[in-house]
């Protein structure tokens, strides 16, 4: 238990630093700054307290916000992803994710990538719609969601295979 708390605190801090110092300054193809910290929601233990998870997610988003001067956009996006995560999990892994012995090891690669892609999609959709906040720019929003989401997905998949959680 203590190990999980420590691991997640470490992830919390390192992901914020990586996001604001590396990925916010990436400016890939002039306009793409992947929001890689979304992988926190993928890594966070499934059986944890949901209320605590939402509070932590909110805090994570808000810290990124303060660093990147984006008001509370990341906070809203993260909170929404955290709130919607059980629904997404049921969609991707079926009902058996609620059983005690469920772990990522029993799932297929396609299921895991779908799960990650949905987390990223919801996060980016909320983030960019609120950032631009105008229906006249719906095409710009979709373009940004698609481009940034794709890069984020590639990076997150790489990250998840590089630092795969062993104990969960």
């Amino acid at each position: 238990m203590n190990n999980t708390v420590f691991l997640n605190s470490l992830r919390f801090v390192l992901l914020i630093l990586a996001q604001v110092l590396i990925f916010n300054a990436m400016n890939f193809m002039d306009s793409i700054n992947p929001l890689v910290y979304v992988i926190f929601f993928y890594w966070y233990p499934i059986k944890g307290n949901r209320t605590l998870f939402m509070l932590i997610s909110f805090l994570l988003g808000f810290m990124v916000d303060i660093f990147s001067d984006t008001m509370a956009l990341n906070a809203i996006a993260s909170l929404t992803v955290a709130y919607a995560r059980p629904v997404i999990m049921r969609f991707c892994f079926g009902v058996n994710y609620e059983f005690q012995n469920f772990s990522f090891k029993n799932t297929t690669k396609v299921q895991r990538i779908t799960f990650m892609a949905l987390l990223i999609l919801i996060h980016q959709l909320v983030f960019f719609s609120l950032e631009i906040l105008s229906f006249a720019h719906i095409l710009l929003i979709l373009k940004k969601v698609f481009a940034t989401g794709l890069v984020t997905l590639v990076l997150c998949t790489l990250f998840s295979s590089l630092f795969s959680p062993t104990s969960e």
Binding site: L17, V20, L21, N24, A25, N27, D30, S31, I32, N33, R50, T51, M54, L55, F58, F62, D65, I66, F67, S68, D69, T70, M71, A72, L73, A75, I76, L79, T80, Y83, L130, E131, I132, L133
Partner: protein, 271 residues
């Protein structure tokens, strides 16, 4: 009562979601229409120091280029100095000059979002104040928005809330420089009347109608222009002189007469 409490407890996650959503929406929407939040911005101690230490490392990578840029600027300033007529030399007494110039280093830059802010490594302790103009060797950059004791955030010209008085250099007609969030190399100059003759390539400079920037600070050149929907004013695309993606050192300009100008304006309005 028991049942209400049970209901709230059973749906506590939904309530928590609603509550936190409300808080963040208030913060977001307030900053959409007014100023950047005073409390949650990157000029604060923690964020400033993190960005400062990161910039300490990354600033080494562009040193040669930055040195060349500064030497070129010195060269230009020397040329101006030597070719100046002697009787037009400004008095060196600092109480008689209208503008004070400070320098700072940029520790965080952003140009991809619709509302970009820049963080610099100087603050109140070094004499930075809100609403000081920020420029680089090439041209205009933005206006100081929030100041903490050792850091400050700057509202970039690449911000949809930015609105800066600008004019066409040769004709003295002035308008407002805004940004439509499409391209970080191009800003838009609006409110130039239709009768003004325009040529692609004309230089746009600051107008000096506000108390923030002095007159004639370079902004960019006209890239393309067309009439707005009503047909009475031009919408001009201005290609910025500054490469907004690559900025290291900036200058801050303080107008010493600002207090006096503001007081006078306020008094005129009240009468």
């Amino acid at each position: 009562m028991q049942r209400i409490i049970n209901f709230v407890l059973r749906n506590r996650n939904a309530f928590l979601y609603g509550f936190l959503l409300l808080i963040s929406l208030v913060i977001t929407i307030r900053s959409h229409s007014y100023h950047q939040s005073k409390f949650f911005n990157s000029s604060k101690w923690l964020t400033g120091n993190v960005y400062g230490s990161a910039a300490d490392i990354s600033s080494y990578f562009g040193l040669r280029e930055e040195n060349n840029r500064l030497v070129r600027e010195n060269e230009q300033l020397r040329k101006m100095l030597f070719n100046m007529k002697v009787d037009s030399v400004q008095p060196l007494d600092s109480t008689l000059t209208a503008y004070e110039v400070l320098s700072a280093r940029l520790i965080k830059n952003s140009f991809t979002s619709p509302r970009n802010y820049i963080t610099i490594d100087k603050g109140e302790n070094q004499g930075i104040k809100q609403d000081m103009g920020v420029i680089t060797t090439k041209g205009i950059l933005g206006i100081v928005e929030n100041v903490s004791s050792n850091f400050a955030t700057v509202q970039s010209v690449l911000n949809t809330k930015s609105n800066i008085n600008a004019k066409i250099k040769h004709s003295e007609y002035f308008g407002s420089l805004v940004w439509t969030a499409e391209d970080y190399t191009i800003a838009q100059l609006v409110d130039i009347p239709r009768l003004v003759p325009l040529v692609v390539g004309d230089t746009i400079v600051t107008g000096g109608m506000s108390s923030i920037f002095p007159k004639n600070i370079p902004i960019g050149t006209i890239k393309k222009y067309d009439l707005n929907a009503a047909g009475s004013f031009y919408n001009i695309d201005v290609e910025l002189f500054n490469d907004m993606a690559n900025i290291k050192n900036v200058y801050l300009i303080e107008n010493k007469n600002k207090e006096e100008i503001k007081a006078l304006e306020a008094r005129t309005l009240n009468e």
